[in-house]
């Protein structure tokens, strides 16, 4: 059976927030931009990346593809601050400020706006689904023990807002009814959806997603692709997605990046027709 879907990119926050259960989505004042120039990495003499350039602007979705072991995850590791390249530069531009990605720690980069979904998911197994998402709440004042002890009211108010937002993300991803389940009692697909809710909770403007569709059933994958597309448009988030399920993700992509033999080829994509 062949079905044809046409993706219509949402035009802004007003459209995206019509549904009561939709997460709170606010337009950003300026578009984020991630740029990397001439990145090179070698492991034990094997050149994994050579002269790799990336240019991604808020609202764009880029598919990063290539055979296993070609260096896709290595590239995400560099852009999320977990790996220092041998050569090259990488920067994050947002609200008129340029930040050198390569001098930042991963946690600082996440707070500045680059969050990352892991290929092996990495949920916190002893915490509930809701706690997993809440842990990623940005600028939580109660993370300071002095404030947690002496400004309980302020912390509670902020936590209430975080909780509402976290439940909204979980609802969007179809996991709201499992909010109180333990993080280690979920299927792979459910775990993946919670992990996506967790990085959305960070409020980051740049999302690096390592195989977000792996482990998801067909309907969930379709819905997730639709949601990511909507988010990219409505909130001007930039997304770099490593995914082997090309057919599912390509229709919403603006850019296709192919990594082969350490070199990155870039194609601008036109049209959003999805045939499956």
């Amino acid at each position: 059976m062949t079905m044809t879907h046409t993706y219509t990119k949402f035009s802004g926050a007003a459209t995206a927030s019509r549904s009561q259960t939709s997460p709170r989505i606010e337009s950003q004042p300026s578009r984020v931009r991630v740029r990397a120039v001439d990145l090179a990495v070698a492991f034990g003499g094997q050149q994994v990346l050579r002269g790799v350039d990336i240019d991604l602007t808020g609202g764009q979705i880029a598919l990063l593809r290539g055979p296993n072991g070609c260096g896709k995850t290595t590239l995400l590791n560099i852009l999320s601050g977990f790996l220092e390249p041998d050569a090259g530069t990488a920067s994050l531009e947002f609200n008129g400020t340029t930040i050198d990605i390569l001098t930042q720690t991963p946690d600082r980069l996440a707070r500045l706006g680059i969050a990352r979904l892991w290929q092996d998911i990495r949920l916190f197994p002893t915490m509930t689904v809701l706690e997993n998402v809440l842990a990623a709440s940005p600028h939580a004042i109660g993370i300071n023990p002095a404030i947690a002890l002496f400004a309980l009211g302020r912390v509670k108010r902020q936590e209430r807002a975080f909780r509402e937002q976290a439940l909204a993300w979980l609802d969007m991803l179809g996991m709201a009814d499992r909010a109180d389940s333990s993080g280690d009692m979920l299927s792979v697909g459910q775990t993946k959806r919670v992990a996506i809710a967790r990085i959305l909770q960070t409020g980051a403007q740049v999302l690096l997603l390592d195989e977000p569709l792996a482990g998801l059933d067909r309907d969930s994958a379709e819905k997730l692709v639709e949601d990511l597309n909507r988010l990219a448009d409505a909130t001007h988030k930039a997304m770099l997605i490593v995914e082997h399920n090309h057919d599912a993700i390509t229709p919403v992509c603006d850019i296709r990046l192919t990594l082969e033999d350490g070199l990155l080829h870039r194609e601008e994509l036109e049209g959003k027709e999805w045939v499956c």
């Binding site: 946690d107 600082r108 916190f124 915490m127 842990a135 709440s137 940005p138 300071n144 960070t202």
Partner: protein, 289 residues
């Protein structure tokens, strides 16, 4: 009756010790083996200020906590880089280092001869001389610190520590300042065990380095493991069991030369049984791995 109050005082002191260690092990997943050293720093700092400078009870206690909290940098900074078994080795080294300082810096600590004549607590002209009055005072301090621990556990700080414990890499990737969290949790736990050290010094009136050795750190660790980690009640149960166990062994009327060894055997057996039968501890929610 006085004997029971004496046990109660010890329970209160070690309840604080176990709760503070639980903050590191149970919430943060940081296997600290130098806790007795920080217990000793609190005890020595407070005892010196009380005996040599005539400080009041609570200011001395606070200074002991501050000293232990500041010196926690000795373990928290290496914890940024070293994890798991490597961190355990570092913390054992710090334990040995602080013990050696307490033992050898005779000008300050009086070395192996220790510090005697430490005054009992005095609060607004009231002398806490009897064991029952001290148990009341220490119970109040333990209660306040227990409430602090419970508030921290349920706060975003506690949640961030749990996330760090479960998966440090994932915690970093969602923006949690892992190094800063380690620094804060070590400072808090060391400050808290420093308070317990001050309370201990004021109660026993005499301290020497042997009370703050690696064996003592292992005893503290046993309390947390036996009682259970990850919640507030686990360490309390562990402290009660390990305070009462040697007392129970007294009823066997063993000769002194044998009693100490039997006690160590009992600890070892208890730990092995716990690992097999109830790895999360008697009342814990988290299984340390």
């Amino acid at each position: 009756m006085s004997y029971l109050f004496h046990l109660l005082v010890y329970f209160e002191i070690y309840a604080i010790v176990a709760m503070s260690l639980n903050l590191l092990i149970g919430y943060g997943g940081l296997l600290q083996m130098a806790h007795a050293a920080y217990f000793g720093i609190g005890a020595y700092a407070a005892a010196l200020l009380w005996t040599k400078f005539g400080w009041g009870f609570f200011p001395g206690l606070a200074a002991g906590a501050l000293a232990a909290g500041l010196l926690s940098l000795l373990v928290s900074l290496p914890a940024w880089r070293f994890k798991g078994d490597y961190f355990v080795m570092i913390s054992i080294a710090v334990q040995a280092l602080i013990y050696a300082i307490l033992y050898n810096w005779i000008g300050l600590t009086n070395g192996p001869f220790g510090i005697s004549g430490i005054p009992r607590p005095v609060l607004i002209d009231y002398n806490f001389v009897t064991t029952d009055s001290i148990s009341l005072l220490y119970g109040g301090v333990a209660l306040v610190l227990g409430i602090v621990m419970a508030l921290l556990k349920w706060s975003p700080f506690g949640r961030a520590l749990q996330a760090m414990r479960d998966d440090e890499l994932a915690a970093r990737s969602i923006g949690l300042p892992v190094n800063w969290l380690k620094l804060q949790s070590f400072a808090l736990a060391s400050g808290m065990v420093g308070i317990a050290g001050g309370l201990y010094a004021a109660y026993v009136s005499y301290i020497d380095p042997t009370s703050f050795s690696l064996n003592e750190s292992i005893l503290m660790l046993s309390m947390v493991i036996v009682g259970g980690t990850g919640n507030v009640r686990g360490p309390l149960v562990g402290a009660a069991v390990l305070i009462l166990l040697p007392e129970a062994l007294r009823f066997l009327h063993l000769p002194d030369t044998v009693a100490a060894n039997v006690r160590m055997l009992a600890y070892g057996l208890l730990l092995v049984l716990m690992m097999h039968l109830r790895p999360q501890g008697l009342a814990g929610t988290y299984r340390y791995q």
